[in-house]
């Protein structure tokens, strides 16, 4: 029965930490984008894309959190044992920290990309691709967390 407390903790860690990363990343990017838009509002579409790029980390964290809830008895599945609960916490750390710190980094890349795009709209695709280079680390963290979370219910602990 005690396991569920830790499972819920795990869901929170995954969602909140990666959410912090995305919030900071998107926030910084949005500030810069608004500066650009105040000069030239026709660039809204491009700015929106570049601003949203650091937003995916929060989404990955949310998905891991959601899958934990589905597996651990909050939204379905069986109540985990104590060890399984702790295992969820361990699994959520990957996307939690991976998402948070890559969110910070991607936010900075996004800000630079927006400034580059503001100077010359032709740089848009280069900026976009460069910013997604950061994303792979959030993705790897997400996949590790995900594979662990979906296999924990099957492991007897």
């Amino acid at each position: 029965m005690e396991g569920i407390v830790f499972a819920i903790l795990a869901a929170s860690i995954a969602t909140v930490l990666s959410g912090i990363g995305s919030a900071k990343g998107v926030g910084g990017a949005a500030q810069t984008a608004m500066g650009v838009l105040s000069e030239d509002s026709s660039m809204f579409g491009k700015m929106l894309v570049l601003t949203l790029l650091p937003g995916t980390q929060g989404l990955y964290g949310f998905i891991v959190g959601f899958l934990i809830m589905i597996n651990c008895g909050v939204l379905g599945g069986e109540i985990p044992t104590l060890m399984q609960g702790l295992a969820y916490v361990a699994a959520s750390l990957a996307i939690g920290f991976g998402g948070m710190i890559s969110g910070f980094a991607q936010g900075k890349a996004s800000v630079a990309g927006i400034s580059m795009c503001a100077k010359d709209e032709g740089n848009f695709s280069k900026a976009m691709v460069s910013i997604t280079l950061v994303e792979i680390y959030a993705l790897l963290a997400f996949i590790v967390s995900l594979l662990m979370v979906i296999s924990i219910p099957g492991i007897k602990m």
Binding site: T56, F66, M128, L133, L147
Partner: protein, 656 residues
């Protein structure tokens, strides 16, 4: 691409250029200096005139937009430009003096408005200055009577009866009378009466406490003056609204002004070309580039227009590139151009890119419902709005992506997430899953995540191998055999070897041996060949062994394809979350309304976020993982001498 030289008579110059501009077949080549015996014509004064007219019209349109903003629907950006007949240009041209007149009037009215507004601000400040004096019942410029001096003025501080009289009393035997009109924290308005004989004395005292006379006193009482100013202000306001009205009256000419603006842009472009022509007394020469398929068309066009000689020759290295692809690949041209158009040595990567772009986009977006929404929306937009070329290509791109999305959605068993079973279960109380209702075996993104990950990396391997295959082909074509077989061939074989080895781990041990053998053979081959540019046996060997380190970059490239799984899963889970949320209020009336609202809003959010993600990440897979294997780019896009209008396009009988 062919280089072309057109020689014709000078008198036909305008006619030929007009035809070329309307047909947009040719890109004009800019030579720095004219051929010997030829000279250039300076057209900068005409161009300046056109640009001035263009600016005037831009300004007039801006003013019109400010006075009565044009109503534009959100979808109007899809709409294609209005088509006009080539003959209509003539009527636009003949109307242009009238339009310039209108624009001048609009700009004048705007200037008047600005003047009136400035006047109103001045009146406002004057009123503010007079306000404290409102209680004064004599004119501000009242001068002395026969025996009494009248001193009207202000002190820059607060004074009351006591402090003022005390100050004045400091001067011995000064006889005075005073009246304080206004007293504020740092301003006091007062009138002081003294005998005429003592005027100088009084002024000296008053000066010590900062007494100043008003700057421009009027011959009326302040309250009357204020009333007059207010009246004038009202008149000005009326004048401004009248000016606005007259500007409003010109709104109906808006599209005419826009047309004329385009017309001047066309002419300005044409004169820019004229200034680059090599001209002699009676002839001129025009250099340019033309796509090979259009050569014949160009020749016919020119010969029909005037007497001229059209010569074609092989294009040099600095020739521009025009991509030509079939219907399936064409929409992806913009993706290639966004990276960089191919140089002369590159193969056109568009067909390969197009296929993988649609395919990977579908796998990441992976929902039959969303794919269908995309397909219907893009098809409808193309049918209803008949958009122009760039917009049409973009819509086409998403149309194909939509088809791929439907395909992968069905493979992953996802139709608006798990919407069909969620609502079926809700109303019937049964407990079905998507796998139960779909007649074919599905890959569940959550349960079979590992399988899909392996599938993703497998597809990535194919993607990379195709990219390397292109490199192999390019090297063979350019007769760089060493590069083809040693640098690319060995790596390709090695990757295949590893793939066989991996497949052997789950099927049969024979494959493991085969795969390992291929991989080891290739590794030996690489060690022997990669150091071939180095000097000395050690240098060669070290270079060869060092090159094996590149395996890390291939591994990281392959791992990068795991995003196919991650984004596919993101779409599926987000859709599932919204489906679940929508059922929270149960099956009563409110519950159903809530369900519909959450369903629509939730899935719109999911579509927006994940379509963006899929687009960006598909693009990255093409640019970073595949293009790095073979594609350099660095070419220049073909930019024909054409009619570049914002407002209309010239109807072309053989339009694309």
């Amino acid at each position: 691409m062919k280089a072309v030289r057109i020689i014709a008579l000078r008198e036909d110059r305008k006619r030929i250029l007009e035809h070329l501009q309307n047909s947009s077949l040719i890109e004009i080549k800019h030579n720095e200096v004219p051929e010997s015996g030829f000279s250039r014509v300076d057209t900068s004064s005409q161009i300046q005139k056109f640009d001035r007219n263009d600016q005037l019209m831009t300004q007039a349109l801006k003013i019109l937009d400010k006075v009565s903003p044009e109503k534009k629907s959100l979808l109007s950006s899809f709409r294609g430009k209005r088509e006009v007949e080539p003959e209509d240009i003539g009527s636009i041209a003949s109307d242009s003096p009238k339009v310039i007149g209108i624009c001048n009037k609009i700009c004048d009215l705007e200037k008047q408005k600005a003047d009136y507004s400035a006047e109103r601000i001045r009146i406002k400040t004057m009123c503010a200055q007079l306000e404290p004096w409102a209680g004064l019942d004599i004119p501000m410029n009242t001068s002395d009577t026969s025996s009494t001096a009248v001193l009207i003025g202000t002190f820059p501080r607060m004074l009351d009866d006591v402090s003022l009289s005390e100050t004045l009393a400091q001067e011995e035997d000064l006889v005075f009378e005073y009246e304080i009109i206004f007293s504020g924290s740092n301003l006091t308005c007062a009138v002081i009466y003294v005998p005429k004989a003592q005027k100088e004395k009084a002024e000296n005292v008053l000066r010590t406490i900062g007494f100043t006379r008003p700057l421009n006193p009027t011959s009326r009482t302040p309250s009357e003056k204020i009333k007059r100013l207010r009246k004038k202000d009202g008149e000005l306001e009326e004048k401004i609204s009248k000016a606005n009205e007259s500007i409003n009256g010109y709104v109906k000419y808006r599209s005419m002004i826009a047309d004329t603006k385009d017309y001047y842009n066309i002419r300005s472009d044409k004169y820019k070309v004229i200034s680059e022509l090599d001209q002699s007394g009676h002839t001129f020469i025009l250099y340019g580039y033309v796509p090979e398929c259009d050569c014949e068309k160009l020749q016919q066009l020119c010969e029909r227009a005037a007497t001229c000689v059209v010569e074609f020759s092989e294009a040099g290295d600095d020739a521009p590139v025009k991509l030509k692809n079939n219907k399936f690949a064409e929409p992806a041209e913009s993706i290639v151009t966004m990276y960089s158009p191919p140089s002369k040595e590159d193969v056109d990567p568009t067909p390969i890119l197009a296929f993988f772009f649609y395919f990977f986009f579908g796998m990441m977006f992976s929902d039959a419902g969303y794919g269908l929404v995309m397909l219907i929306a893009t098809t409808a937009a193309i049918k209803i709005f008949k958009p122009d070329k760039p917009m049409r290509s973009t819509l086409k791109l998403f149309q194909y992506c939509g088809v791929a999305t439907v395909f992968w959605g069905l493979v992953f068993g996802s139709i608006f997430g798990d919407a069909p079973v969620v609502y079926y279960n809700l109303f019937t109380g049964s407990n079905l899953t998507m796998a139960d209702i779909l007649p074919w075996p599905i890959l569940d993104t959550q349960k079979d995540a590992l399988t899909i990950m392996i599938l993703s990396i497998g597809l990535g391997l194919i993607h990379i191998l195709v990219g390397m295959g292109c490199k192999f082909y390019v090297c063979l074509k350019n007769k760089r055999y060493e590069e083809a077989f040693f640098d690319t061939g060995f790596w390709m074989l090695m990757l295949i070897g590893f793939a066989v080895l991996a497949a052997g781990m789950v099927t049969s041990p024979v494959l493991i041996t085969v795969g390992a053998a291929i991989a080891i053979a290739c590794a030996v081959g690489l060690i022997l060949t990669q150091g071939r540019d180095k000097k000395g046996i050690f240098g060669k060997l070290l270079g060869g062994v060092g090159s094996l380190y590149d395996i890390t970059s291939y591994i990281s490239d392959l791992l990068s394809y795991s995003r196919l799984l991650a984004l596919g899963l993101t779409t599926g889970v987000m859709a599932q979350v919204f489906n679940m949320l929508s059922t929270l209020m149960g099956t009563n009336v409110f519950g159903i309304i809530f369900m519909i609202v959450i369903f629509i809003a939730g899935h719109l959010i999911t579509i927006g976020l994940n379509a963006l993600g899929s687009y960006v990440h598909t693009m990255r897979l093409q640019y970073v993982e595949m293009f790095s294997k073979f594609y350099d780019g660095g070419g220049r896009k073909f930019e024909p001498f054409a009619v570049n209008c914002k407002n209309f396009k010239i109807k072309n009988s053989e339009d694309m």
